[in-house]
Amino acid sequence: MISIVKPEINIDFLGRRWIAFMLSSILILASILSIVLKGGLNFGIDFAGGALVQVRFTNETTPGEIRKVLNEIGLRDSIIQQYSEKGGNEYIIRFKNTSSKNEGLSDRVQETFQKRYGQNGFEIRRVEVVGPQVEKELRYKALMALIYGMIGILVYIGFRFEFRFALGGVLALVHDVTVTIGAFSITDREFTLPVLAAVLTIVGFSINDTIVIYDRIRENRRKMAGKKLELIMNSSINETLSRTILTSGTVLFVVIALFILGGSVIHDFAFALIVGVIAGTYSTVFVASPIVLLWEKFFPGKKGKRR
């Protein structure tokens, strides 16, 4: 039998909760600070509106060259980025949201390129244009999905376990989401619709992890009745430690495969998952359970009924 973790392992996780709280606070603070200092998140066009055109040119060209062509039709407000994948002459051109100007923008770009580079000199690989109403709706829906997701999970865990457990679980989620979004801000990555999907997946994954430990705590409270909650939690975390490491490890492997091989569209999505899986695993051990302890310390009267 190969074991990553020895069965008799007993690490005092909860004893180190203050160090963990400090680390978490630093991470969250850094995330918030980065978002505030950079003037909000770097929203992709899904949430900020605007237009994006991805073009592959047959012959070599430069951003300056492309800008000159675009200036001719009065599109001065563009960001031109070389696209790193497979090297070569692929560019992503972004336009800020200027409401009326977006209409027919992609067509105008195509026409101008056709004049300059010829019919076969370029290929438009992707076009995205998001108008202001759509962008507003997408942002609203995204926020709602996150909020309802948290509420749904809060209710479910509250129903299956106890309220203070649900609180610990949801705070762990807030932690994970904040850190992931913060990582996007710190690394200057764009926050797009697929990234939001990734964040919601992290919510699902992290709560998964948390529930496994909570489940063990519930079981052990029956077995170890009379013992201190801290002790029960510690042994529960230790007992499930090998599972936590194995599952997080395999999922991490898989998302790293996605990150490296999944192609450009999946790239940021996978990055969010990598950060989220690490944060989720950490928070399960160091945030979700300690919060329950903390709650008991401040509200000792409300021990809650045991199920």
């Binding site: 069965p7 690989r125 076009v127 244009v129 109403q133 489940d215 492997f253 495969a257 999946i266």
Partner: protein, 529 residues
Amino acid sequence: MSGNLRWKALLIAIVTIVSLVYLSASISDQFPEWWPKKQIKLGLDLQGGTHLLLEVETSKAVENAVERVSGDLKDSLLKKGIRYSKLERVSGKEILVEFQSSAYMDKLKEVLDSEFFNLKELPTKDDKGSLSVRLGLSDKEVEHIEKFAVDQGLETIRNRIDQFGVSEPIIQRQGEKNILVQLPGIKDIKRAKDLIGKTALLEFKLVDDEHSIEDASTGNIPSGDEVLYQKIVDREAERVVNKPYLLKEKTLMTGDVITDAKVRIDSQYQTPYVTMEFDNRGKRLFDRITAANVNKRLAIVLDKNVYSAPVIQERISGGSAQITGSFTAEEAHDLAIVLRAGSLPAPVRYIEERTVGPSLGRDSIHSGVISIIIGGIVVILFMMFYYKLSGVVANMALILNIILIMAAMAAFQATLTLPGIAGIVLTIGMAVDANILILERTREELLLGKTPRSAIDAGYDRAFRTILDSNLTTLITAALLFQFGTGPVKGFAVTLTIGIVASFFTALFVTRFIYDLVLTKRRVRTLSI
């Protein structure tokens, strides 16, 4: 095999075979007639194509209706000898009527009550002695017009796309006044967008030859007239000249009488033009118009652009007309389509466009498949290495899981998107979690000194509740993603949901069956775990 096990074996065999049958259609098409042929549907991001969201400017439809009603009201008042000093459409959706005497005002109210049920009087801020009335359409009427504008617009766009010829387009209403159009595999997106978005309001108007266009061009437009332009494309010099026309504002006939439109080629210049056929009402109308205006010029106006303004040589009772202009063959073809399909009751605007070129789609499929394979292999190797034979059992469940997901996608005709593929890859990771939970638990029980049989029983029993809880919470998030997500994100939610349900079956039921089968057949001393 005991009876219980036999039933389980049968169920698993049926599920597997049905899945393989459904999956087969996506891999090969050489199957007999009766074979289920549902293939996995690829999203626009994988097969290439365009996703367009249009907003119907319903307020324009209301304004047009108000304009029409105010014309009717003018006619009606004139007929009854009710004199007004002013009657015009103001601030978009209101009609302002002013009178010289209050007697006429009362008569207006009579006319309104007897003929114009859809008009209502709007409250005025002016003092009592005022001799003006503001009128507006009733709320019900406005609601009706807006609804009609979207419904009719949807129908017209569907007609146009059908005639344009796109395979498996999606055209549906979204929200109150948006229309979603998805065109898979389309190449010339600009052309498609022009075709869909054209209002295509065809009008016949008389040219005002009594006043000079030069005079009107300086801003001195006679009342009841308007200036519209003809775009003349000079292909050699690559420029467009706008030629102005002074037209009577009144529209004599619109394109709603057209029954058919076809492209013809001019025999002399080899240039394409479009001929139109009118229905009976149109024939009568056209006959009357041409009879009354011989030697005058009749302008053919499409979306406020003059196409031609031929002189009416004689009365035309045949009931057809033609539009000439400097068209390319494609433009003429598309113009014929929009004339046949009819005009949009209100203009539309594109508020969202997402286009993926076919080559990018292919690249995405390629990288998606590679990540599924690599992710799968990594997990399978790890499980075999770590759990030995028990890992092999878990791997069988995992492979069956992937087959089930794909088969379910084909059977339910769910759309596979790139995030959907990511969902499958993630499910591989998550499905393994169920097995890890069970196997870790079984190991614990073995360490307590239990026999393989009872350790496995306990492992499954204890892990069941945990797996149920964790799967249900993931389902909650998947449901929310589906509810609030759009397009590709929805695809992710779909595969995630199918994956969770499938893994519940494979990781709990199928693996359990394998252990039961092995452990009842022979006495196992030590478990390879």
